[in-house]
């Protein structure tokens, strides 16, 4: 290598390029997959409802890979992104929840959106019960722990945060447990235990959608009054026309 001090500007620039460039020449497959997915995401007109429906069909089969991420969105979610079955924000939510990197999608969602997305997918996947209960329990424990560590959303008006995400996850879990035989019930993570209940004691499940409201056990009733709305009118004085 020639002495840099004797080089022309152009030659010195070239030598600098040689000295400063790093060796990596290819983006990772995950990075490319995520980018393709985001491109597709940009072009799609799927509604949130449709995404949720499709995300349910994703199932949980790849959940063991959830913990395999190394600073990236775990492979399964990148694949799901690529397949167009979940939104970029969803993957970001999961990445945030699990302590991974949101870099591929962080430009499109903030913390609030990420948490809401995590909540959405968690609910969908838990209720879809395609995974082994132990796997779900482990992942929920991880998720609730990570969500607990997240700061509450700063932006007003969006209304969702870690607490509600955890609550939704716990609700889903309780609902699922209520309909499952004991061997298939998932132990509730500590964050799900309501105050006043000892560990292992589950609160009553939520009523299914559309069920009538609960009957109050006590209280004073109230209702419309009855009686004539108006009485007889007053007649005109004698001798006067009405």
């Amino acid at each position: 290598m020639a002495d840099p001090r004797s080089l022309s500007d152009e030659e010195l620039l070239a030598q600098l390029a040689d000295s400063l460039a790093s060796d990596v020449s290819e983006p990772t497959a995950e990075a490319l997959t995520t980018l393709r997915a985001q491109v597709l995401e940009q072009g799609t007109t799927l509604t949130d409802r449709e995404r949720r429906r499709r995300s349910r069909h994703l199932g949980w089969r790849a959940s063991p890979a959830w913990h395999g991420g190394s600073g990236w969105i775990p492979r399964v979610w990148a694949g799901a992104l690529a397949a167009g079955v979940i939104a970029a924000g969803t993957a970001a939510g999961l990445a945030v929840a699990l302590g991974g990197s949101t870099a591929p999608v962080v430009g499109t969602v903030g913390t609030v959106g990420a948490v809401r997305s995590a909540q959405m997918v968690l609910s969908a996947d838990v209720s879809h019960h395609k995974a082994q209960p132990a796997v779900i329990a482990r992942d929920i424990r991880t998720l609730t722990t990570r969500l607990s560590d997240l700061p509450r959303p700063q932006r007003p008006g969006l209304g969702s945060g870690p607490a509600s995400a955890i609550a939704a996850a716990c609700t889903e879990l309780r609902t699922r447990n209520a309909g499952a035989p004991p061997p298939q019930r998932i132990p509730l993570p500590p964050g799900c235990q309501p105050k006043g209940l000892p560990p292992g004691v589950l609160p009553p499940p939520r009523p299914p959608p559309g069920a009538p409201p609960p009957i109050p056990g006590s209280g004073q009733g109230s209702g419309p009054g009855s009686g004539p709305r108006s009485g007889p009118g007053q007649g005109a004085p004698p001798g006067q026309p009405t």
Binding site: P27, L35, P104
Partner: protein, 186 residues
């Protein structure tokens, strides 16, 4: 050769037009072509540990913002590297409490590469050490030129300066670099 971006034809209008229309293959090609330079640039801005994420975030923002991209002196490459500067700045703000990411002295890739330590006495390492002593502005200008592979006009557009001013600043930075090499050698 340092003007890799120009030579590789990243600014091909057809590819960019396809990218505008959401063609994943076009974005794939653009990412592959940009990646070595983008990552090298970001390694120096945010450190080797976060460069991959920053590169990915840069491309993510590019995908999200392609509708706002307009042909101009910066070209597509310059536009992307402009985004990368913002990504790096955001990263530095977020991690302000941490140590400066780029290791001093030998330019951001030595601490995790033991072999580099063995070569620390050669000219290449001397050059990196001297480069690290330049001001941040000088470093960034030269990085945009030699790592990002941007022309003086593109660099000027990215930095919001005139091309003549960039050329002048570049000459001064290179002269400063030579001075530093002489001092180190002495």
């Amino acid at each position: 050769m340092y003007l890799r971006g120009v030579e590789d034809g990243n600014d091909e209008p057809e590819t960019i037009a396809a990218a505008r229309h959401g063609d994943p293959a076009a974005w794939d090609a653009l990412y592959r072509a940009l990646y070595p330079r983008l990552r090298s640039f970001l390694v120096r801005r945010v450190g080797p540990g976060d460069a991959d994420d920053a590169a990915s975030e840069t491309m993510s923002r590019a995908v999200a913002g392609i509708g706002r991209y307009r042909e101009g002196p910066a070209g597509f490459d310059g536009w992307v590297f402009g985004i990368a500067r913002h990504v790096a700045a955001d990263h530095v703000r977020r991690t302000a409490r941490r140590a400066v990411p780029v290791p001093s002295g030998i330019g951001g890739r030595a601490l995790d590469e033991p072999a580099e330590l063995l070569l620390a006495g050669d000219e290449r390492a001397d050059l990196r050490r001297a480069f690290a002593l330049l001001s941040r502005r000088e470093q960034e200008l030269l990085e945009l030129r030699v790592i990002a592979g941007l022309s003086a006009e593109q660099t000027a557009a990215v930095l919001g300066k005139r091309a003549g001013a960039v050329r002048t600043a570049q000459s001064r930075a290179l002269a400063h670099l030579r001075d530093l090499l002489s001092v180190n050698d002495g």
